[in-house]
Structures are given as C-alpha cells and as structure tokens.
C-alpha cells in the first residue's frame, strides 16, 4: 500500500458550472458542489440528467461554458486532462486493446517518465490489491468483464491521482458481478483514502457507496446530502421518486382540518406537519416499505383498494394495489397471503408521509 496511498489533499469545488453544447443544448445548469478531501461523492440521476457531462468537465474532457472548477485549490478550467492529476474509470473499461494488462496499467506512468522500477512497483502493488497478479501479461480481450474493470481501476490507482473519477463503471457487468465489484470499490476507497467522484444511474450504488449523494435532473442539482438524509428527507418530489425501490407512491389530495384526503387515501397530520404545511392542495408521498397491513389504526393513514398483483421475492413481497385506476405499491414481509382482485386495506404512520407542493413539487415539511 505504501506506493499507492497519497498524502495530497484533494478538494474539488464546482462553482456555478454550466455546459451548453452546440445547438444551444443546455446539459448542465449552474451546478455548485463542494467535494471534500477523501470524500466519496456519487452523482446520480436518470439518463441525460447531466451527471456524466459534469464528471467530464471535472476531467477536462469537456470545456466549461461558464463557472469555475477547482481541484486542490487551483482553478483548472483551462488545464488539460493530463495535468489535472485525476484518473478516470470508464463504463466500457477503455483499455488499450493492443497492450497487455501490465502495459495498460503502466502506460500513464510511462508517459510521465516515471522510473522503470517505480512503475513496476506500483503496477505490482495495484495488481496485488485487485488480484490481477496472474493476468499481468494477458491482453484485454483474454479477460472477463469483471477482470477488465479491475484492470481499468488498476490503471487509475497506479497513477496515485488526487481525484478518482468513475463514470458508471459497473453498468456493463451482470448483476452478481456488479454487487461484488460494488463491495470491492467501497473497500478500495477505504484502503486508498482518496477523493472519489462516482457517476451512476443506479440508486443502489449511490446509496451504498456514497458518503455524499448529488441527485441531478435536467442538468440541475436537486439535492446534495448524505444517503440517509436523501432517503428520509427528500427536498422535492423528483428526489423522493428517484431514490428508493420500488419508487415512492404519490397521491394528490387536499388538507382539511389537519386531515389529508385524496383518492381513497386519508392521513391525519402530525403536529409538526400541521405547523409546517400552509397550503391546502398538496401531493402526499409514502414509501412502499411504510405501507403495511399491520399499521392500520385510527391514528394512522389508510389506503383502501384492490390487489392487482403480487410480486414475491421470497424475503419480501410487493403488493400492487389499484386505487381508482392508480397503482400504489406496498411492501410486506414474505409469506403474506393476499389474493389477487381481493379488497385490501393498508395503513401507514403519518410521520412517514411526505408532503409536496403540487405546483413547485418542493417539500412542504423539513
């Protein structure tokens, strides 16, 4: 590990960064993020939300239209990628096909005219960490997807950069390998103690890897927070719907005398909610895991509907409930015996409910 851990501080700051592509396509709008040293920040959002463009701007692969990017206290807007002291891991690995694993990993160091001995030491060290020692003389085409991704990570870590950039690195792997690599990346971050910016559309990766999550939509930041805060206190309806699987249920309705009513759903508001919510029309959001058959009661929220279908995963069951042609999902423990087309009533604790403005989609509670 002595060769691959760095002492350098690596803070990354994006200030009002925007990117407009030719044809006036605004991919990133006024993005400001502060990434602290040794932090693992995940940019998450659906396809085309601007997360990869943001990462590419940090890497120097895309020019910044306006705003400022700082790495380690220096403005790098006009600094070429090779001089930014960053390393990047790509979705399709981007290994040089004509080079062996060893040459792939050593290439960046060779171009920087490192001593041969040091290059070899760093390559060996990285190969040991990533269990690639046996594969050093193979060409990328002779490796499996998981091995190729390891080599791509190895190529990044031998450089000992200030910042690691990961652009959807696990998207090309199958589900099992993805889970395994995810755990390995988390472990690697702990070992290397480096700053990582990680882009993904997979909210599970975001929740499990990130110490800070940046949720993006349509080129704008929706929320920056810790994974748990994002899950528990989403700032708007987009974040609430994007984080969590299955996604949060939304029901339009009105609040009268401290009681939410809408589409067969009722919910008495807690005192906190009563104090904070001033408007009468709003959107109620409730996560499937908080909708439970067991939580029915006079003080709780309730939903009445018809069971449309049931998805059983063994360890948990999702019940899809049709409420006046709107599908809501409830999560239940395994073995819950419900019949399709039968009436069902589920309850939820009012404190678990989220309320959003119908027009601005911003949260009405904090």
């Amino acid at each position: 590990m002595e060769y691959l851990t760095g002492e350098d501080m690596a803070e990354v700051i994006l200030e009002n960064v925007s990117k407009i592509f030719p044809g006036n396509v605004e991919a990133v709008k006024d993005v400001s993020i502060e990434i602290l040293d040794k932090e693992f920040v995940v940019l998450v959002g659906s396809s085309g939300c601007g997360k990869s463009t943001t990462l590419r701007m940090v890497a120097g692969l895309e020019e910044v239209t306006s705003g400022e990017i700082q790495i380690d206290g220096k403005v790098v807007n006009d600094v070429p990628p090779k001089d930014r002291d960053i390393a990047m891991v790509f979705q399709n690995y981007a290994l040089y096909p004509h080079m062996s694993v060893r040459q792939n990993m050593a290439f960046g160091l060779k171009l920087r005219r490192y001593d041969k001995k040091e290059i070899e030491q760093r390559v060996q060290e990285a190969a040991k960490i990533l269990e690639l020692e046996e594969l050093l003389d193979r060409k990328p085409k002779a490796l499996s997807g998981g091995q190729r991704q390891r080599v791509a990570v190895g190529r990044a870590i031998v450089r000992k950069p200030k910042v690691f950039l990961f652009d959807e690195p696990l998207s090309n792997l199958d589900a099992k390998l993805r889970n395994q690599m995810r755990a390995e990346l988390a472990l690697l971050h702990r070992k290397l103690e480096s700053t990582i910016i990680y882009v993904t559309h997979d909210q599970v990766e975001a929740m499990t890897l990130g110490s800070k999550i940046v949720v993006m939509n349509k080129g704008r930041i929706q929320q920056v927070d810790s994974p748990l805060s994002i899950y528990e206190k989403p700032k708007n309806q987009f974040v609430a719907g994007f984080i969590g699987s299955p996604k949060m249920n939304f029901v339009k309705g009105e609040i009268e005398n401290g009681l939410f009513k809408g589409n067969q759903v009722t919910c008495p508001l807690t005192d906190d909610q009563k104090n904070q919510i001033t408007s009468t029309s709003c959107m109620l959001g409730i996560r499937p895991e908080h909708l439970r058959v067991e939580d029915q009661g006079i003080d709780n929220g309730s939903i009445k509907g018809e069971v449309r279908f049931v998805e059983s995963y063994g360890y948990e069951t999702f019940i899809h409930i049709n409420v006046n042609d709107t599908l809501l999902i409830a999560r239940s423990e395994s073995g819950n015996q419900v019949k399709i087309n039968s009436s069902i009533s589920v309850g939820f604790k009012p404190s678990k409910a989220h309320f959003f403005d119908q027009n601005t989609e911003q949260t009405l509670t904090s």
């Binding site: 590419r56 990628p81 990047m88 790509f90 981007a94």
Partner: protein, 273 residues
C-alpha cells in the same frame, strides 16, 4: 443429389472465372521463358524453356536503374500517404473544427474526378515549380490520396470515444493518440492503404511519361512502355513480356506477405464504414 450437383456447377463456374483471371498471367510468365516463335500460341506450354528473354532485356534497357527509381518513388510516396492521410483522417474523424464536413465532402468529390482532368493543370504546376525531370514531380503529387483519407477516417471513427478520453487523461497529445493508439489499432487499414497506394504508384505510367524524359529517373512502367513502343524491343514479344514480368514481381511479393491483413481490412472496413 441436387445439392451436390448444384455445388459442382458452382465450382465449375468459379474455376472458369478464376481461369479468366489467371490464364493471361500464366501465359505472360510462360511467354518469357518460351522460344520467340512459340509465344503466340494459346497453350502456355513450350518445347523448351530459357531465360534468354530476360538476359536480352537486361542488356538492352537500364532495368535495374528504373527498378531503383520505382522503389524510391513508391516507397517515399507510400510513407507520405500513410503519415499525411492518417493525420487527415484523424482530424476528420476525431477533431472538432468548423468546416470539417465541407472539407470531407470536397475530398470525397476529388475521388470522382478522373486523373486525366487534372493532368494538364498539374503539369503546368510542375513546370512552374521547375520540377519537370525531377523525383519531386514523381513523388509530390502522390503524397495524398482521397481513398486513403476515406479509409482512415472510417477506421478511426469506429474506435470508441472513451479510448481517446482515457488516452488524453493518461497524457497523450493528439499526435500521440494517432501514432501510439490509433496506428497500432489500425494495422489492417495501414496495410491496405500501403498496398493499394504502392501498387497504384508502382504501375503508374502516364504521369511519369509526361513529367520525366531523363532516362536516369524513369520508373519501370515508363521504361517498359517506352521499351515496348519505341522499337528498342525490336518487336520481340518475349522481351516485352520479360520486362512486364519483372515489373509486377515486387508487387506480387508484397501482396503475398501482407494478403492476410489486406483481406481482413477490406472485410472490416466495409462493415465498420
């Protein structure tokens, strides 16, 4: 049964087609070795074989000097095409600049112009530059090829963008990306362009006939053409055929060594284009 019969017919047709290509070639080679009186027969076989035609040819024309000239012109021109056209192809495929599409369209357009059309303006240019009767006149007009540019561009466009991004982060410049990343990945394209261009220059007779009159810098096709039509061969067919055989020999040797890449490139460039 019908399957086997169909196959038989197919093979017969293919053999007949192959013969139409190969027969003139075999006939020519046999003609260089047969006695003069037996050359103009249909059969490539002769009553006896000798190298007399070759010996006579060597004594009559400076064939080795022209062989050297041809090699010099073809090699320099091919190397220039590989460097310059791959650079142009790279720019057209991977660099973003204004007018890129227009430049590519103009390059493509030059492919449809027959050489005869540009012959006179090019000759005038050579006269103005004072290059007539110099190697420059034989080499410089052939240092660029629209076909090569097109082939390189298509090949380079098929290389994933992320590979270039990775190379930029690793520290390669545009030239570094071209020569240290794209070249090793484009061996079939390089070899195809190399062979096609080398063959084209090697076989070119018209342009050298126009710009070169000095015997010392004449290329082989020029020499062979002059030899055949100017009476030096004294109407001896065997002599003319021997000169032609010597001329094609280097091309065959190059092709035999590199044919695997050549076929591979022709196949893949078609798919990727």
């Amino acid at each position: 049964m019908s399957g086997k019969f169909g196959k038989l017919i197919l093979y017969l047709v293919l053999i007949a087609a192959a013969c139409t290509f190969l027969y003139p070639f075999v006939w020519m080679l046999a003609g260089t070795l047969k006695p003069e009186a037996e050359i103009m027969t249909f059969s490539p076989l002769g009553s006896r074989y000798s190298l007399d035609s070759y010996k006579l040819m060597i004594s009559k024309i400076p064939i080795f000097r022209s062989l050297f000239n041809s090699l010099l012109v073809s090699i320099i021109s091919t190397v220039c095409v590989l460097f310059l056209c791959s650079m142009t192809g790279f720019a057209l495929a991977r660099l973003k600049f204004k007018g890129r599409s227009a430049i590519f369209a103009v390059i493509l357009f030059t492919m449809v112009l027959p050489f005869q059309l540009t012959l006179i303006p090019l000759y005038v240019l050579m006269v103005k530059l004072g290059w007539v009767d110099t190697y420059a006149a034989l080499i410089v007009p052939y240092t660029m090829s629209p076909f090569a540019i097109l082939l390189f561009r298509q090949f380079f466009m098929a290389i994933p963008e992320e590979l270039i991004d990775a190379a930029r982060i690793d520290g390669l410049s545009d030239m570094g990306i071209l020569f240290r990343l794209f070249w090793p990945l484009s061996k079939p394209a390089l070899i195809t362009v190399g062979i096609v261009h080398f063959m084209g220059i090697w076989n070119e007779a018209l342009w050298p006939l126009i710009v070169v009159r000095k015997e010392e810098i004449m290329t082989m096709p020029q020499m062979v053409t002059l030899f055949a039509v100017s009476g030096q061969a004294e109407a001896q067919i065997g002599l003319q055929l021997a000169a032609a055989a010597v001329m094609i020999l280097p091309i065959i040797i190059v092709y035999l060594f590199l044919q695997r890449y050549f076929i591979e490139s022709m196949a893949t460039s078609g798919l990727k284009g």
